[in-house]
Symmetry: C2
DNA sequence: CGAAATAATGGTATCGTTCCCATCGTAGTG
DNA sequence: CACTACGATGGGAACGATACCATTATTTCG
């Protein structure tokens, strides 16, 4: 492969700085490598001057080639336009920066072929850790990757038998909180909306906890579940909701994630249904939830914290060649009460 | 700096593959470098087998060290949680991937110190191009960077005297479309909401076109402008809007970007004002704009296209050591009509 | 049939760093 | 004073890849 040199002018190298400063490469390397104190003040000054004259920046590629450390961590994002992912990303990025790491973000657009390609690329760049926010099934590739000892954290997903940490929501507690709130505010019929479970463990967990609760509390409430794929769109949801409310006396819709909340809101709007008389409770907080005319009640995840924690996990594994059990860290959501769960009796409207 | 080796097991190297395949490093390099066809079929097979046995991936760091090309392009984002930025990012990423480039995304959180740090880092990684979506003033650092010949594209900003392309909205046309639409739907008093102009050229352009139009059409409409900083929050906006509607007969609020649309919507909700009787028109489309009870009319930017085009500019400059004039590429927005601009007469409610 | 072109392969310098080891002067110690 | 210790500096071999040039075997052609 004939790689043409880059069009823009070449950067100054350490060697040039050394020459300019009448010093050795070693000394300049020490200066920039954090061993500044073992150089005489005079030498330091000379190097500083030469470097700024040449506008020198160390070449991290070369550095990591020799040192083995790249200072890079990768993140695989299923859908970069998902506010939840972005918020977590923000947390990771902050934490990473504080420790001198940079984040390489790869958007897989829910495409596992792309995921493969990006993984290969991230490896090629020598990332020191990987945060994965996959959509569905986590690919075989990832399992192998984890087995090489690369520190890895899964967001909201588990991979049985894989040595990787997991950071996410306490799904059982979340579902319990949701149901408790709905019951408390007077709703009795629950339609649970989720994206297709595929092999996403968190969706699986939420769903099974929900069905568990539905049977455990069947004297109080009864419920239904519907798996809605985003590609299917509104048209497949509308009849389901119509049918649901026609048979329910005190109906509420519980949304398994932000996408579902959006779909549900669109659906209610299209059907001209009065949100509130039809309850609406979403998992994940979105900026517009407070804006709709009865605000939408949500269970907000501590997104930034999840991100920071995910990075912290990577760091620990990286530092101490961590070989402990893979950890599962689960956060509780915060209930944000709004108008969408405040009108228990539809006949009151 | 004593860089400890990474905790996870070292990857196989080209040399090892060569040994395993009884071939020379050169041949292996050819195999992975895209000169596969000049190897005999037998040799190819041996290398393929050896590589997969060792699970070999080329080290891109080493490759770029020698070749001078890193395949990396950088993006500086003012606020990663801004949907507009994310959408553009998505466009860039797609285009970049198609050409075999990876994107390093750096979030500056509107902090120019952070911006500096990230620039230094991006340079250190040897990026071959940079897309900048800065918030306010574009730092001196950037100007210098551009002068080194690094291909650079500014989103929605201009830097006078700097050799960098610019991709963004045609602000004059946008303002014209906005005003024409407001007039056509019957509004006569316009409150223009913008984030502080600082040195952001697009805000500057929108504002000055607006004031130009206000005077040009002063027989038809009259208007007011208000600069609202996000940190000031709702409290500083509410009295302004109250005062505005008290003196206006056919009032409409025109929002300079998505943040402002959010603030305006919040404000109208808090004041319990009927959106529609108070017109609302936002620049930038957001997913919830269709959800509010009268939908919010917006002027949507072709975000993905902007991103793709930005990358294309980088590529051109990179390829042909482009030295032409810096280009300014301006897109027209699309008007999405909704309920928020459909009720010209407040007394009709 | 011999020279020249072509195809297939290998050897090695090099990219910009870090790091080990060597060097050298100066001071401290018995 | 000789000997060690130490502090400051430099030389050069890696790191993992590419690319130039050289080598050998095979074909082509006058």
């Amino acid at each position: 492969m004939n790689l043409a040199p880059p069009a823009h002018s070449r950067r100054a190298t350490l060697k040039q700085v050394a020459q300019e400063a009448c010093a050795s490469k070693t000394s300049v390397s020490r200066y920039f490598g954090g061993a500044r104190e073992q150089l005489s003040l005079d030498l330091q000054k000379r190097i500083a001057r030469a470097a700024s004259r040449l506008n020198y920046r160390p070449n991290l590629m070369a550095r990591s080639l020799k040192g083995g450390r790249t200072g890079l961590i990768g993140m695989l994002v299923a859908d970069i336009r998902n506010p939840f992912s972005v918020a977590v990303m923000h947390g990771i990025e902050q934490a990473a920066r504080e420790q001198g790491f940079s984040l390489m973000i790869c958007n897989t657009d829910n495409d596992s072929r792309l995921e493969q390609a990006h993984i290969a690329q991230l490896i090629s760049y020598g990332i020191e850790g990987l945060v994965v926010n996959a959509s569905g099934r986590v690919s075989q590739e990832l399992a192998e990757l984890a087995s090489t000892g690369l520190p890895m954290v899964l967001l909201d997903r588990q991979l049985p038998g894989v040595e990787a940490d997991m950071v996410g929501l306490d799904n059982d507690a979340t579902i319990d909180m949701a149901i408790a709130h709905l019951i408390e505010t007077g709703y009795r019929d629950i339609l649970y909306l989720s994206e297709p479970v595929n092999h996403a463990s968190s969706r699986q967990e939420r769903l099974s906890r929900l069905t568990y609760q539905l049977t455990a509390q069947e004297s109080t409430i009864n419920g239904k579940t519907f798996m809605l794929s985003m590609s299917a769109g509104l048209t497949s949801l509308v009849p389901v909701v119509e049918q649901f409310i026609s048979t329910a006396s005190r109906p509420a819709i519980l949304c398994g994630n932000g996408n579902m909340t959006l779909m549900a809101a669109r659906c209610l709007k299209q059907l001209k249904l009065n949100t509130g008389s039809i309850g609406l409770l979403g998992i994940d907080e979105l900026e517009w939830c407070s804006l709709l005319t009865p605000g939408i009640t949500t269970l907000a995840q501590p997104t930034e914290e999840i991100g920071r924690r995910a990075f912290a996990c990577l760091l620990e594994r990286n530092r101490e060649a961590y070989v402990g059990q893979s950890r599962h860290i689960r956060y509780h959501p915060t209930l944000i009460k709004r108008g969408s769960t405040s009108c228990p009796d539809p006949h009151a409207i």
